[in-house]
């Protein structure tokens, strides 16, 4: 029989066990409820602190398979304090090979931390050399760095990537999820006593490379375009020159230049000279300006090039025909004010066609008045001037238009020749494309298809198209009239022997008026009867002569001289109609 005192002791022992178990439940409750938020943060940190293997980012190609953006293998060198056996040698080798100061390396090597990064973006050759020393506790993790073989080519369109290989601007951002891929992980295991487990292969989750992007860009066209823009920029000492070359039938963009461009491999180096030390704020501002794709991000008053849209709207509304008669005395009275033509002595009697060829403002004010704001806006809306184009790069601006109910006679008059509202060059190009391609509104774009890393999964990108935004007849008339503008009108400097080119010039005075700052521009397409390519160029703040017809038109003409044969557009007999 168990003695009474033993029973009592046993009861005491049980009470102690009971209490301890209660304490344990309390401890668990504290960890699981009280500290849940703290640990969930830690868990997140941990997942980030696991050694990750970066996934190879997808490659960006041009339409002919030329690589526009790819990856270069680089290494990240780090040290693990507890695993190093000969610290002095580690310091010696790393400072020599990486070209770092001995003190700097020593500080990191001798820091008691689980893992200390010494240097990242080290060339693979140097990483391999360090690996050959076989130093304990030195980790060399392979990594990729984005590399742009063409440097400055289409920099603002392609964009670049940041420290974590994520897109910062341009296509790199827009197609981030396609290009990015999935990062892998390496987990090193230790048991409860902290001994690294032997025979336990590093738990490795392989990364999955991102898909490649095939774009409609053409390296050769882009190079011609960029050179032509740079030439104009220099010749006119302009602030900037932008140009877009597109297929007006389907919206594929062959080239988009925003000169001055910058080197994609050095995206944080300013492309302009600066005086003195810059504040961080100022530098960020300058960088943002440098990275800005103004073809899509900035709006401007389109000026006379917009007369294409006004004319098409009037034809659609049936308020004018080719042969409608006008008279230009050099000005027009609108309500209480006089609005002049650029030709102050007047163009005299003109037909509708003459009005466009002469870019005559009174003719267009008259057309606007006859058509009315309701009809104009109806066509504008169909041509996409009230919405973004939907282009596949980030940062697109919206247009700034008058509200229909606020448009008075003066506004109507100025809208008719392209003033008092703002759109982006991309919007204008899209609208004009719609007018001349038979009436189909296209979505301008770069991305054509994505191809998975193993080449098996091909996705052809499709874009929205809206048919019959203007009628076939309007389209035919406009193509013919615009060809005459180049053949014998204000756009005659775009004339190119053997090619049928249509287009319209523009000279827009920047706000505030009378500041003497202009944007000279030209929209032109070829062949005029069946357009396969359309281009817009805009020279911002040229010095000296600032007329679009004088300085912008030759830029397009020069580019066309190179790219039309390149695109396989056959020479044909041109209609030189000096009628």
């Amino acid at each position: 029989m168990m003695k009474t005192h033993s029973r009592r002791s046993l009861l005491l022992v049980n009470a102690v066990i009971f209490l301890l178990l209660l304490v344990l439940i309390g401890r668990l409750a504290y960890l699981m409820i009280g500290r849940a938020d703290y640990y969930s943060q830690k868990i997140q940190d941990m997942h980030e602190r696991e050694r990750s293997i970066k996934a190879e980012r997808g490659i960006i190609y041009d339409r002919n398979g030329n690589i526009l953006a790819s990856n270069r293998p680089v290494c990240t060198i780090s040290v693990i304090y507890s695993q190093m056996t000969d610290r002095e040698q580690v310091i010696q080798v790393l400072s020599d090979e990486l070209g770092l100061g001995e003190e700097e390396v020593r500080k990191k090597v001798e820091k008691v931390s689980s893992r200390e990064k010494i240097k990242s973006n080290v060339d693979k050759e140097i990483g391999d050399r360090i690996r050959e020393y076989g130093l304990d506790g030195v980790m060399i993790d392979e990594d990729y760095k984005r590399y742009y073989p063409y440097g400055e080519l289409a920099s603002k369109v392609l964009g670049f990537t940041g420290a974590d290989n994520q897109g910062i601007i341009g296509l790199e951002v827009y197609y981030e999820s396609t290009l990015k891929g999935t990062d892998g992980k390496i987990l090193t295991l230790t048991n409860a006593k902290g001994i690294e487990m032997e025979n336990e292969a590093e738990n490795r989750i392989e990364p999955a490379a991102g898909a490649s992007l095939y774009t409609s860009l053409d390296v050769n066209i882009q190079e011609y375009v960029q050179q032509a823009c740079e030439k104009a920029l220099e010749a006119k000492n302009a602030k900037r020159v932008g140009m877009i070359v597109m297929n007006p039938q389907n919206g594929e963009i062959y080239a988009m230049a925003n000169v001055p461009e910058f080197d994609l491999n050095e995206p944080y180096t300013l492309n302009i000279e600066t005086e003195g030390e810059l504040t961080q704020e100022k530098k960020t501002e300058l960088l943002n300006t440098m990275w800005r794709n103004f073809c899509i991000s900035d709006t401007y008053e389109p000026g006379s090039a917009f007369k294409i849209v006004t004319a098409a709207s009037a034809l659609e509304a049936g308020t004018v025909t080719r042969n409608s008669q006008f008279y230009c005395p050099g000005y027009k009275n609108v309500e209480d004010r006089i609005i002049h033509c650029h030709n102050r002595s007047g163009h005299g009697a003109e037909t509708f066609v003459d009005g466009i060829k002469n870019s005559c403002n009174p003719v267009f004010m008259e057309i606007g008045e006859r058509t009315g704001i309701k009809n104009l806006y109806q066509t504008f809306r169909k041509l996409g001037l009230f919405s973004k184009t939907g282009i596949d790069v980030p940062g697109e601006s919206s247009s700034i238009m008058h509200k229909e109910e606020n448009v008075g006679a003066v506004e109507l008059a100025t809208i008719s020749f392209g003033q008092s509202f703002q759109i982006t060059p991309m919007q204008l190009l899209t609208a004009v494309s719609t007018v001349i391609n038979g009436g189909t509104k296209i979505t301008p774009h770069f991305g054509v298809r994505t191809v998975s890393a193993d080449g098996e999964n091909i996705r052809v990108l499709s874009y929205k198209e809206e048919k019959n935004c203007v009628s076939k007849e309007t389209s035919e008339t406009m193509k013919d009239v615009l060809e005459q503008v180049v053949a014998s009108g204000s756009g005659n400097k775009a004339y190119l022997e053997g090619f049928r080119i249509g287009g319209k010039t523009a000279t827009s005075e920047k706000l505030p008026r009378k500041s003497g700052k202009y944007i000279a521009s030209f929209v032109g397409f070829a062949p005029a009867d069946n357009p396969e390519v359309i281009a817009i160029v805009m020279i911002d703040e040229p010095e000296g002569t600032y007329y679009g017809g004088t300085i912008a038109t030759p830029v397009v003409s020069e580019v066309y001289a190179n790219i039309l044969p390149y695109l396989g557009i056959k020479k044909q007999e041109t209609k030189v109609a000096f009628d």
Binding site: M1, M2, K3, H5, S6, R7, S9, L10, L11, V13, N14, I17, F18, L20, L21, L24, I25, R27, L28, A29, L31, M32, I33, R35, A36, Y38, Y39, S40, K42, I43, M46, I80, S82, S113, S114, L187, T188, L189, T190, N191, A192, K193, G194, I195, M197, E198, E200, N203
Partner: protein, 385 residues
């Protein structure tokens, strides 16, 4: 007084079916959790998600058979005197265990830097220290049974400790935590048996004081270092991952099989760290339920201990109870990083064949004692008649 025949081997009415059920339930729950926590790793390492489940399943079946057989064999067979003077089976068993430990120390197999296993050829490996725990419980119970009075003085306690010290020394070299468990079991058994308590409190006080002094003295053992810097130390990887698992559980857990941390983050999650996966998947509610199940198990053994009329049986129950509760408490203390880490499996649940087989055998002895309870109660009834 009616004579109760020993050959009748007690009564089945008093056989503690609750204890049997609890034991088997916990072991089967362990199987579920082992499968949950190991299938991912098992698939990777052995191309068989059920690798650990199968091995543990076999151990539990073998252990259960042994438990049922042992529960039918009168435990007092251990007390039968052998031809040599003063020697009985407990002593033989204990010496055998010591020899096995000695053998392990020299010819054992090293796994994870520790030499704790003996190879049985194609049958796998066993961990003799699990057997030694049973041997020590029986041996100490016998010592106390025979010389209950000596514990009234501290000298008697020291005498018992001296007998147990070879086992502690042999195990302690390779497996400090099991040695600690054996010390704890011995301590609790002596404490319960002794009429005088003062020197036990003295000893316990001195031990606690000593530990605190050591930790604060500036002397840093690697483990204390890891324990204190669990968030940053590279070596605290497993404990840290375990804490993350526990904290991910919340009130109701992520659901059975839904643990993230078992996916390679907690090394050997099915082993000593299995409780963290229980916490993550079943939440505070599930984890508390498991702890309460152990409490129930302990209370059943407690009830058998105080109801038996045999001191030897009562001491065995006390030893088994101490064994289970010490391991449960230490295991949960370790995984919650409440004490420096030391490898102690969660009884009946953690993966490990030796551990579960010998524990089931211990439960077999306790079940046999429970039948004896009935006999003594009947004897009492008969007496009163």
């Amino acid at each position: 007084m009616a004579k109760v025949g020993r050959e009748k081997e007690g009564t089945w009415e008093s056989y503690d079916y609750s204890l049997l059920f609890l034991t088997i339930f916990l072991a089967c729950f362990g199987l579920v959790m082992i499968y949950s926590s190991s299938s991912y790793i098992a698939e990777i390492k052995y191309k068989d998600a059920a690798y650990f489940l199968k091995r543990q399943g076999i151990a539990i079946v073998l252990g259960s058979i042994a438990m049922l057989v042992i529960s039918r064999v009168d435990y007092r067979v251990f007390l039968k005197p052998l031809p040599w003077k003063g020697i009985n089976l407990t002593a033989v068993f204990y010496v055998f265990a010591l020899l096995l430990q000695l053998y392990t120390l020299f010819f054992g197999i090293k796994i994870n830097e520790a030499r704790r296993w003996i190879s049985l050829g194609p049958l796998g490996t066993i961990q003799p220290s699990e057997l030694t725990k049973v041997a020590v419980i029986l041996f100490v119970a016998d010592l106390i049974y025979k010389r209950a009075k000596i514990l009234e003085r501290m000298r008697g306690f020291v005498y018992i400790i001296l007998f147990v010290s070879p086992a502690i020394a042999l195990i302690g070299k390779e497996n400090m935590s099991t040695a600690l468990v054996i010390m704890g079991i011995t301590f609790v058994m002596c404490f319960v048996a002794s009429r005088k308590k003062a020197y036990f409190f003295g000893c316990a006080g001195a031990a606690v004081g000593g530990i605190i002094a050591i930790i604060n003295s500036g002397w840093r053992s690697k483990r204390v270092e890891i324990w204190r810097n669990v968030e940053t130390s590279e070596k605290a990887f497993q404990i840290r991952q375990g804490l993350y698992a526990i904290a991910s559980g919340g009130l109701f857990g992520t659901g059975l099989g839904e643990s993230m941390q078992k996916l390679g983050f907690i090394p050997e999650a099915y082993n000593d760290m299995i409780f963290t996966v229980i916490c993550e998947e079943l939440g505070l509610v599930g984890a508390s339920a498991v702890i309460l199940l152990f409490l129930l198990l302990i209370l059943r053994i407690f009830k058998i201990a105080i109801n038996t009329n045999d001191l030897f049986g009562a001491m065995i129950c006390t030893g088994v109870m101490a064994h289970i509760s010490i391991q449960v408490i230490m295991n949960v203390l370790v995984v919650t990083n409440s004490i420096p880490s030391t490898g102690i499996p969660l009884p009946l649940i953690s993966y490990g064949g030796s551990s579960v087989i010998f524990l089931l055998m211990e439960m077999g002895i306790v079940l046999n004692i429970s039948r004896n309870v009935g006999r003594s109660q009947m004897a009492a009834l008969n007496r009163n008649r």
